[in-house]
Symmetry: C2
Subunit: 172 residues, 2 copies
Amino acid sequence: MTPQQRSLEPVQLDAYFALMETASLLRHAVEQQLQDVGSLSYVQFQLLATLGASATGSQRMTDLADGVVYSRSGLTYQARALEKRGLVIRASSMDDERSITVTITEEGRGVLGSVFPGHVAVLDDLLLDSLTRLDIENLADILGRARDHMRRTPPRSAAPRRRKSPGADSTV
Amino acid sequence: MTPQQRSLEPVQLDAYFALMETASLLRHAVEQQLQDVGSLSYVQFQLLATLGASATGSQRMTDLADGVVYSRSGLTYQARALEKRGLVIRASSMDDERSITVTITEEGRGVLGSVFPGHVAVLDDLLLDSLTRLDIENLADILGRARDHMRRTPPRSAAPRRRKSPGADSTV
DNA sequence: TATTGTTATACTCTATAACTATA
DNA sequence: TATAGTTATAGAGTATAACAATA
């Protein structure tokens, strides 16, 4: 096993590090701005933005969780925080009594609007201004594909929980 | 003011979201692997890797902090955690009694080595395999430039602390 | 006085497991 | 039995401010 200790080529390493570092720096800056202007964490902003972009302004909790990747309980935590501030409302769905529909309020849209200009400014200064139009198109293309691939590929070590599914136990 | 509410073009938005999401998903997966195999957080891995890659296996605390971007106290926290496990050693520098030199131990290199294959595997599966050689080169190039730019550009709202620097107070 | 690093502290966030309720 | 969501809880990580020591 481990026939020859597969190692990374320099370019691959460069790409990896550059990706992680860029995102980290950008997120740091954006988080700061969101906190200063709207007292929002990045995740909360994501949630509001997702709701605001949807046609109805609503989403089921589960669908929101899928979009943001975090755990159910994590989403409950954040949704409650947003609800306390009156930025969203939670109500049980009519078609399925189990699920809960989260809806952005006018106030929520207000905060989103107040935060947006600064958000764009940070983005311009930190990321966009240093790149050409073509760079940006390339990024959107390449990383878009990478993201789609990742969404389809559950990490080996963190396979989707499929406990008890009859016969699914691979090693036991 | 706010002459016309500068907004983002779709491509720009795509690039931004794809960047953040890709990095987020990747980090999530990598963090899992590091935790499972080496009981390391991503930051701790970064620190060990940085030390391991340096010629002497050593770095000053300040330089490490600069590399990882986090706060001083955050670095102290992580460095102590690594020291407790015997993966690094801290000793005061000889040339400057104020600074502390962190050095990776053999044990630290061992953990690094034990974690690396799985790390690469995750990277392959999740990111590299879905991209062409050219894609990866492009990524390394574009994001490399973006990172360099970000490192040079302190975020407006989070300017480097320069309190008390005579005459540096801009608004007072 | 400026810089290096630590400490104390408070807070935010995330995940796990147990639990309720509906399908 | 499976799914949707909440709760309790525990743990990791981060930042701020005050502090000590050296330059």
